[in-house]
Point group: C2
Chain length 380, copies 2
């Protein structure tokens, strides 16, 4: 059993919970949003600025890091935390999702996934054992079991076969993680519930993972095209099956209203490239919705993006300036808008946490939707 990893649920409001995940690298306030630091950097952000937005934990991508600069190199250089100058918790994915979406000529077998690098065409084999080894070399604090992200749409039969493979890989991941290393003593392994949009398969998957002593549970295979309503339905029947006192992580989600709906249903952790990727394309998140800074209407607008926002983009610059930066392809535009969007996401999480603690989550959610609906109905 891991000594240094635990979760305290400090308050609940309906199915929603708030609490603290304790790790050897520090605490994570939940519900938590994890910015994505794909290639050992949250794109266009210094780590101290990521921390200033309110992030307690980052996500690192096994697939990217194993190819470049390689897990072995990062290990020799003292681990991912030191390499990228982020001393707080890091969760690493298993590489299972990205090997299917990014690699070339991939071939799945019982053993794992053989593939060619999208960078240089070099050949690699990712197995549960290798995925865990890579995550350990990186020094990950929350290690994800290696799984297959079931494609969507898929028949029930195909989804079942994929889920069962993931469950066998979860067992192998568990065995690899608990092979007696010091790393397993101080850090956590999360299992991933699969089963697509089929309740019986989700039930089977939760039960299978119950046989393994995971320190947390992710819900995988969602936000892949099924739509928000179906995603929420899956959460509605899956989350009650999961242990109440262990962290619940909804992978790859999502838009602000996805997050709000998932928190209401009992999710504790999220990751998504949306705030950072959108920030690099000129799309800003604000309480009333989104703003596209490439639209001509912003060129003379002296107002900040969001008058109530504490980020430096909103404190020091006009929409006109940000619009100018995007029109001129200036790097500072990407930097400022990424910072703003991550701040928006972190402040949304802080608002959710405060609302749950105060037993006012329903009001918070109502207000969240009302502001957006009113703005959407206003003439531009």
């Amino acid at each position: 059993m891991t000594q240094k990893f635990s979760m305290d649920v400090t308050a609940t409001d309906g199915a929603a919970r708030t609490g603290i995940i304790r790790t050897c690298r520090g605490d994570i306030r939940t519900p938590a949003f994890m910015p994505v630091g794909t290639a050992a950097t949250v794109k266009a952000m210094k780590p101290e600025t990521v921390r200033t937005t309110g992030a307690d934990i980052l996500l690192g991508n096994t697939y990217h890091l194993m190819l470049r600069p390689t897990a072995e190199r990062i290990h020799r250089l003292g681990g991912l935390h030191k390499f990228m100058n982020w001393e707080r918790p890091i969760l690493t994915d298993s590489g299972g999702f990205q090997v299917m979406s990014l690699a070339k000529l991939r071939k799945i077998s019982e053993q794992g996934v053989a593939f060619q690098s999208h960078i240089d065409g070099s050949k690699h084999l990712l197995t549960p054992e290798r995925s865990i080894e890579i995550q350990r070399l990186l020094g990950s604090n929350i290690v994800m079991a290696f799984d297959e992200c079931t494609p969507f749409p898929a028949t029930e039969q195909a989804t079942e076969q994929s889920m069962l493979l993931s469950m066998r890989w979860a067992e192998r991941s568990y065995a690899a993680f608990h092979d007696g290393s010091d790393h397993a003593r101080d850090n956590a392994l999360f299992g991933i519930v699969q089963g697509g949009v089929f309740e019986n398969l989700r039930r089977h998957s939760v039960a299978a993972l119950g046989e393994i002593d995971c320190q947390g549970y992710a819900v995988g295979g969602l936000a892949v095209g099924e739509g928000q309503q179906v995603m929420f339905e899956v959460l509605d029947y899956t989350l009650p099956l999961m242990p109440a006192l262990k962290p619940r992580y909804l992978m790859g989600v999502g838009k602000p209203d996805d997050i709000v709906g998932a928190v209401v249903r009992g999710i504790d952790m999220f990751d998504c490239v949306l705030p950072s990727r959108s920030g690099r394309t000129g799309q800003a998140f604000i309480p009333t919705g989104t703003v596209n800074l490439k639209n001509a209407c912003h060129r003379d607008d002296p107002r900040p993006l969001d008058e109530a926002c504490r980020c430096s983009a909103c404190q020091h610059y006009s929409r006109a300036y940000l619009a100018h930066l995007f029109r001129s392809n200036e790097i500072l535009g990407l930097m400022l808008l990424t910072e703003h969007n991550l701040t928006y996401y972190q402040d949304l999480m802080a608002g959710l946490r405060a609302a749950i603690s105060a037993g006012r989550l329903q009001d918070f959610v109502k207000n969240f939707h009302q502001i957006r609906t009113m703005a959407a109905s206003e003439p531009l």
Copy 2:
């Protein structure tokens, strides 16, 4: 006469001087290096980070800003300082150099330069009067006279004609600057000495500018391909002709050893894209010379770029990490290396200022060259 603009020379060492230029936006310690903020941003840098490197003043480019977002728009939004969140002094060039190097279909006449924008092909006319108007709309603290940067190489005759045109334009710039506006009361106009590599023409140019009451003097038309030795020769015979108690600005210079040599000869101000542009290509300046982070030898190097450097790139990251960022085309690489290079330049200026104050400039220069020579002779 401008009331709020003045220069105090606080110490001299040979021909070199150190001092303070006082402006309505704050003091500039000289010798000073001005980072280039072309499109209302020092590329890949927040202004507060530019300040942290030690910069007292930025340079803005009239040519770029007049085309996008336009001087009128910046004026409506409260001026360049507010627009880009830099409250300290800003020097703007006249657009004369960049219109010749960047614009399409340019045509020079006595009136000015007609050209098409390199961005959208739109037609513009830049005259001394329009250049001064733009710089005033931007709110520039040091306005440069509109000039023609003489091409290199050029015959003496062509250089003379070009210089004489620049001198007539300088008179028109002066008249336009001193048309009774408040802007002229609080800010300064600098004239630009032209004349290429011809001593008699440089002498003529300084004399012509002496007829105009400029608050500072730039040496233009250098660092255009003539080589360091010729550039220093031009400085050797030009600088003694110039007023001792007014700022001397060597435009577009340069490499670290160019700057050291020019300070020794009595230059007070510099601007150059080299540290920021090199930073974006993976080239770092350190006391021993330059480091190209794209070279494979850095991939496993746990050392910082420069152990003695105070910048965040050197304080928090290994060469291996920086090399990884450049190989992965990560924006953070551009951010960190720009910050490092600007810090190197500012610390070089601080070292020169301290050496002049202490009367130890010769030792400083000797040491500067010795470190580089020793490093160059070492095996890799």
